[in-house]
């Protein structure tokens, strides 16, 4: 079966920058793909490109986005509007910015249903209550008349999810849906998303910078750095055997709950510098921060090498890195 979504060599440009370059990935129905990367690595712009909601100054300068056998870049504005919200839906990090503060949540969910499913006012309200129950809002029949500011952050995010799944989309894009939430509420929200994914057989693109979230909720992972895919793997492989120096650096920089590692026993392993250094870099974008960099890394952008069909890495030196004696201490 062909994947539901195929992104091929996507490049997004602003007049003076190219924040997403040559990015490819696929997601199938019922599958969760996680995209991880630092802030500024191009995750949100990628999500917005899938929705065809890029900022005015941005353009897809090359590549294809094939969704359910249609090339999204070839659709006109009206066709895209019909798809958006109905077949492809998105939830954002900060629900307050995408909920209307002066309309009740029931009205807002109902509106989606009226537009896409042509439901009447009464039916839309009934269905809104059902959806609020689906996302486990207690006393849904009362809460339906609440305004966004009357809800907690976790409840608002659940309302966003209710709106996003109202029309049973085939693809759900979640851009840092739990970054603003506590771990307790994060677990509730991600469990909910996962249940809906299974029940509705949705494909989910989950954007996050939390490696723990990736490990526990993703079927496969794309690691982005400075607009490019630098590694792709199944979560287990990524954590047991990170290949790209950036991924390895991330894993060793992260203080982990189970470890006995404490400041009195040693420093955290830093990745020196910041992602800003990737701007204008001709070769490997990670080179200015990479401890393994060598002269040839500056010559050209390292191509993605497929170690297995699921395992891609954009660094030619990973096999020699594995010989480094302390590599074992990096695995979890």
């Amino acid at each position: 079966m062909a994947p539901l979504l195929q992104v091929e060599n996507l490049t997004i440009g602003f007049p003076r920058a190219e924040p997403v370059r040559d990015l490819s990935f696929e997601v199938s129905a019922g599958e969760t793909l996680a995209i991880v990367g630092e802030s500024g690595s191009g995750k949100s712009l990628t999500a917005l490109a899938l929705m065809q909601l890029l900022p005015r100054t941005a353009r897809v300068t090359s590549g294809r986005i094939v969704f359910d056998d249609r090339d999204l870049l070839g659709l006109d504005a009206r066709e895209m509007r019909q798809l958006r919200g109905r077949e492809i839906a998105m939830i954002f990090q900060e629900p307050m910015t995408s909920l209307n503060p002066v309309m009740s949540i029931g009205w807002q969910i109902g509106e989606v249903l009226k537009v896409h499913e042509k439901l009447s006012g009464r039916a839309a309200r009934e269905r809104a209550i059902e959806l609020l129950r689906l996302v486990r809002i207690p006393a849904a029949e009362k809460r339906v008349d609440d305004y966004p500011h009357q809800l907690s952050g976790g409840m608002r995010q659940r309302v966003m999810i209710a709106m996003a799944v109202a029309c049973r989309p085939k693809l759900l894009i979640a851009d840092e849906p739990t970054t603003a939430l506590d771990v307790t509420i994060q677990a509730q929200v991600l469990d909910l998303l996962d249940t809906l994914r299974r029940e509705l057989q949705m494909a989910v693109v989950l954007i996050t910078h939390d490696l723990g979230v990736v490990a526990q909720w993703a079927d496969k992972v794309v690691v982005m750095y400075a607009g490019r895919k630098v590694e792709q793997a199944l979560p287990g492989d990524l954590f047991n055997d990170p290949l790209h120096p950036y991924t390895r650096g991330l894993l060793s920089a992260s203080p982990r709950l189970k470890s006995d590692f404490h400041y009195l026993s040693g420093r955290l392993t830093e990745i020196p510098g910041s992602i800003v250094s990737a701007a204008g870099e001709a070769g490997c974008p990670f080179r200015p921060r990479c401890r393994q960099a060598r002269a040839s890394c500056g010559h050209q952008v390292p191509p993605l090498i497929a170690q297995t069909p699921e395992r891609l890495v954009a660094c030619p030196f990973t096999s020699s890195l594995k010989a480094v004696p302390d590599a074992a201490s990096l695995s979890l």
Partner: protein, 314 residues
């Protein structure tokens, strides 16, 4: 004598929604040289507690002592001296940096206020601290917007260190930073602690960071401390059901996923549940819990818990 202590500290706010009991009876102690972590869900009162300890917000009741001196009701003039010794670092340093001033000007200002030396000496102090926190020397002449998030946090740390404080209250100092930058800032804070013999009250909702960074941990729920223990004990033998739920909720790559350990949201501090304030979400709640508030008691030396069944939990 502890460096800082609070007893039965309360900070209540009168709002349109009624009385918010944001901090509602907190006892705590920070010893000299100690790093104390403060964890809990959003809205449980961590920042309010931090600001109250610094007297940036006035307490409603209770007592705060700094080095044995009661600072609960000191007037602003006499507080100035104390303020030199207790500094604060915020989650978003950008919001607290004036965009129209250079880093040099921003860092010199507190020295002027506290009359710390003449101009050349102040300049030397600023240049020294900039180097210390790992910023380039030319940062002095640049403006806040020219710096990345991690660098701005370094500026915030430099500002907190300027007046040779003894205690720094760090309110989510690395929460807004990428993992790769977070390690840099945590390492810097550890270095500064060692070099200047600092104590920290470290507010965070990230348990793995607290696990690495702290000597002792306070777990806060709805305005109260519900568990306090040294780092080792808290992680090997957590006793409060809320502490356990918080730990279980951290997505840990090394173990399989569990069902969300805690349902529902934090209740509002304007409507604190009767009895044990955690009973509305606690998997172990009994009738007793609904009526009687558990005492915050010592179950073994250095380990305190506010839960009726703390001794029986395995």
């Amino acid at each position: 004598m502890p460096l800082l202590s609070a007893s039965d500290l309360k900070t209540h706010y009168n709002t349109r929604d009624g009385l918010l009991r944001s901090v509602d009876g907190v006892d705590l102690v920070v010893e000299r040289g100690e790093t104390v972590g403060l964890v809990g869900e959003s809205g449980c009162g961590k920042s309010t507690l931090g600001k109250t300890l610094l007297r940036l917000v006035d307490p409603t009741a209770g007592r705060i002592e700094f080095k044995g001196e009661d600072i609960t009701t000191l007037d602003q003039g006499r507080l100035r001296n104390v303020r030199k010794s207790i500094q604060m670092i915020f989650q978003d340093p950008f919001a607290s940096l004036n965009p129209r001033h250079t880093i040099g000007e921003i860092l010199e200002a507190p020295l002027v206020v506290h009359k710390a030396g003449g101009r050349p000496e102040r300049r030397r102090t600023v240049a020294g601290i900039i180097a210390k926190v790992g910023l380039p020397a030319d940062a002095i002449n640049r403006y806040p917007h020219e710096f990345s998030g991690g660098q701005r946090q370094r500026i915030g740390i430099a500002r907190a260190l300027l007046l040779n404080p003894e205690l720094i209250v760090c309110d989510e100092p690395v929460s807004a930073l990428d993992l790769s930058i977070q390690a840099q800032i945590l390492n810097l804070l550890v270095e500064m602690k060692k070099e200047f013999g600092l104590s920290y009250l470290f507010i965070s909702h990230d348990l793995s960071v607290v696990r690495y960074f702290c000597d002792r941990v306070l777990v806060m729920y709805l305005g109260r401390i519900v568990e306090s223990a040294d780092n080792e004990t808290l992680w090997s033998d957590p006793r409060h059901p809320y502490t356990r739920a918080l730990m279980a909720a951290v997505p840990d790559p090394s173990r399989p996923r569990q069902a969300a350990p805690l349902g529902g949201d934090l209740p509002s501090p304007s409507d604190i549940p009767s009895g044990c304030r955690f009973h509305t979400r606690c998997p172990l709640a009994t009738d007793l819990c609904r009526v009687t508030e558990p005492e915050f008691r010592t179950i073994k030396p250095g380990h305190q818990v506010a839960c009726h069944v703390a001794d029986h939990i395995n």
